[in-house]
């Protein structure tokens, strides 16, 4: 049996270890280079210029998606909500692809803004539609909306010329492979703004654990927090999409992992959720780039392959609990 302190602080150990593994492990054995004194400069250059932007972007995108998932799950009072399920990621992807094709010279700094516009549009549409319905309806509508948005994205891709196509395709599958340092710094800037905001907001969301009526008694302006949280979730999802395309299932799995080990108050969950999201994404990226070594599999693909079985198990477990 793990002691309470170990359970509560596990992520503080897990994240640095994963970060270290992802920074040091790769096609070149960097640890050996680091230990040999004459090649230390080369090794530092390798880590700083090639691996650091990628690892940083993966960690930040994962943390953003995890936090977005936590916000959505709390606000919707629905443990299945996730930015990739309810149309935020696909909406952002559509907007970014549209921007890429309309203005091929646009700099990567604008991707998060375009993604935010698309993500907010997708998320708000679904939020409006699912108001007053049960939790499952949100997911089902999200599945429908997602397939429409991905059909539209696919059509934009067909209309694109072949030179842009390859770049957009790898980006859409959720890959960190083609990431440039400039893009990673843009992600860092956006995440430095949005992640602390999300953490602060989570401190106010505890009343959402109760039912709507009791929550309103504790917190009079719940509607305002709800819209703020939804907007912030859209923003976080859009930042992640602008960095790495559509990464599914992080926003779903990270809050559940955190909830297994921590008390279920959103304020206490925010930090572990970010850490687990970052860890998951880093692991997926690391697996994707080292499993079939010359071929780089997108992290989004690895997440789908790993995430679906976990999600299915989660659903089965929940149904068992309900006694259906």
């Amino acid at each position: 049996m793990l002691s309470a302190g170990w359970r509560g602080g596990g992520y503080l150990v897990l994240l640095p270890v994963t970060l270290g593994v992802c920074l040091l492990n790769g096609s070149v054995d960097t640890l050996g280079l680091l230990l040999a004194p004459e090649q230390r400069d080369l090794a530092w250059q390798l880590i700083g210029e090639l691996r650091l932007p990628r690892v940083m972007a993966a960690a930040l995108a994962g943390a953003a998606l995890g936090l977005a998932g936590l916000l959505l799950q709390t606000l919707a009072r629905n443990p299945l909500a996730d930015p990739s399920i309810i149309g935020i990621n696909q909406g952002a992807a559509l907007a970014v692809v549209g921007l890429l094709l309309a203005l091929p010279a646009a700099s990567p700094q604008w991707f998060p803004l375009a993604g935010l516009a698309g993500g907010v549009a997708g998320g708000l549409l679904l939020w409006r539609l699912s108001r007053g319905t049960s939790g499952l309806a949100l997911i089902l509508m999200g599945i429908g909306l997602n397939s429409l948005l991905s059909a539209l994205t696919g059509c934009l891709l067909i209309l694109a010329d072949a030179r842009q196509l390859a770049m957009v395709m790898t980006w859409l599958a959720g890959s960190f492979a083609g990431l440039e340092a400039e893009q990673a710094w843009a992600t860092l800037a956006w995440a430095a703004l949005l992640l602390p905001l999300g953490w602060l907001l989570c401190q106010r969301l505890t009343p959402f654990l109760l039912d709507a009526l009791s929550g309103r008694m504790l917190e009079p302006c719940m509607a305002r927090w709800e819209s703020a949280g939804l907007l912030l979730a859209c923003g976080l999802g859009a930042v992640a999409v602008a960095t790495a395309g559509t990464l599914g299932f992080v926003g779903l799995l990270a809050p559940h992992l955190a909830r297994l080990l921590h008390p279920p108050r959103p304020g206490r969950l925010a930090l572990p959720t970010m850490a687990y999201g970052a860890t998951l994404t880093l692991l997926a990226d690391w697996l994707g780039r080292s499993l079939f070594a010359p071929v780089q599999l997108p992290a989004g693909l690895m997440l789908a392959l790993l995430g679906v079985p976990v999600f299915v198990a989660l659903l089965c477990w929940q149904q068992r609990l309900k006694g259906r």
Binding site: L129, I143, I158, L159, L301
Partner: protein, 332 residues
């Protein structure tokens, strides 16, 4: 009572009219008059170019659209009646992605890629997906509730789609062969595929019409059906097999075309009524007409023929789906 309610007879004519409008006003419209003069003159002389365009380019495409539309529409109708839910459709239950995975596996395997082999691979893939989805839902929830089916169908659809992407990323050669097929387009269809497709689809549709009566009896309840001499398990297996055959035949030729199976049965119910054989017949006819019209409209919009007809179907089907879900769950 006649077969068609007079007030609702306009539905297929609307589709036909749209199809004619889209085809005849397009920039590359078929020269019907030239074709007719050639046929009227006996048709044996050297055919003019306009007639060749019609017979070699348009007719095969129309035939394939009709067959695939009928197959997908009736598969959706059978699936909706089988699961007693208006939200079911082959695309949403992961069958399309299963068929796609089967095809991709055949493509990277050493076996030859023939139309018959492709169809078999698609059937096997769709069957595996169906077994997976229905089996897991049954195991997890102890029943076949539709929300579970849709949720798990979408999940396994994602998983199978990810596997397809995985195989295609590892084998670049397969991606080049199959890229256009994956979008669900009718542009890549060759005339030699029509024969096998018709050979599969038409007898299966006939069997589906025959099986509609036992299925309707089964809808009244398992015990009633058993006491009337209908074996419930046999009917379930038979209808599931029909759905698989139809979906796999359509997917093997044209790639995954979503939402035809969702929308068409509702239109057919509106047009011909609630009885199963009427709805099934209506699904066949309307499915065929709908895919034909969607293809013609998309061709009209993009005269280089790059967009798939599934775009038009998604644009129409998704709002419909959202509305159905909202109406169904609003009360709870």
């Amino acid at each position: 009572m006649s077969l068609i309610d007079r007030r609702r007879a306009w539905l297929p004519w609307l589709l036909l009219g749209l199809f004619a409008l889209a085809t005849l006003t397009g920039p590359q419209r078929p020269e019907l008059a030239a074709w007719w003069r050639w046929v009227w003159a006996g048709g044996d002389a050297r055919a003019p170019l306009e007639a060749l365009v019609l017979t070699e380019l348009y007719l095969p495409r129309w035939q394939v659209a009709l067959l695939i539309g009928a197959a997908l529409g009736s598969a959706g109708c059978l699936l909706q009646r089988l699961t007693a839910n208006p939200l079911a459709s082959p695309g949403l239950l992961g069958l399309n992605q299963g068929a796609a995975l089967g095809l991709v596996c055949l493509l990277v395997s050493p076996w030859p890629f023939t139309p018959m082999g492709a169809w078999l691979a698609a059937v096997v893939g769709a069957a595996v997906a169906m077994l997976l989805v229905f089996g897991i839902v049954r195991l997890a929830t102890g029943g076949l509730a539709i929300d579970g089916l849709l949720l798990f169908g979408a999940l396994f659809g994602t998983l199978l789609g990810a596997l397809v992407t995985l195989v295609l990323l590892i084998d670049q050669h397969a991606l080049d062969v199959i890229r256009f097929w994956l979008a669900g387009s009718l542009a890549q269809v060759v005339p030699s595929q029509i024969g096998p497709l018709a050979l599969v689809v038409i007898p299966t549709l006939a069997v589906a019409l025959l099986v509609s009566r036992p299925l309707e009896i089964l809808e009244t309840g398992r015990d009633t059906a058993a006491s009337l001499g209908v074996d419930p398990r046999l009917v379930l297996l038979g209808v599931a097999a029909l759905v698989l055959l139809l979906t796999a035949a359509a997917v093997a030729v044209s790639g995954p075309i979503l939402f035809a199976g969702l929308v068409v049965p509702h239109m057919a119910r509106f047009w011909l009524g609630d009885r199963l054989w009427r709805q099934l017949l209506g699904s066949m006819l309307l499915g065929a007409l709908l895919l034909l019209t969607a293809d013609a409209l998309i061709l009209r919009l993009d005269d280089q023929d790059r967009l798939p007809p599934s775009l038009a179907l998604s644009l129409m089907g998704v709002p419909w789906f959202l509305w159905l879900v909202r109406r169904r769950y609003l009360a709870c």
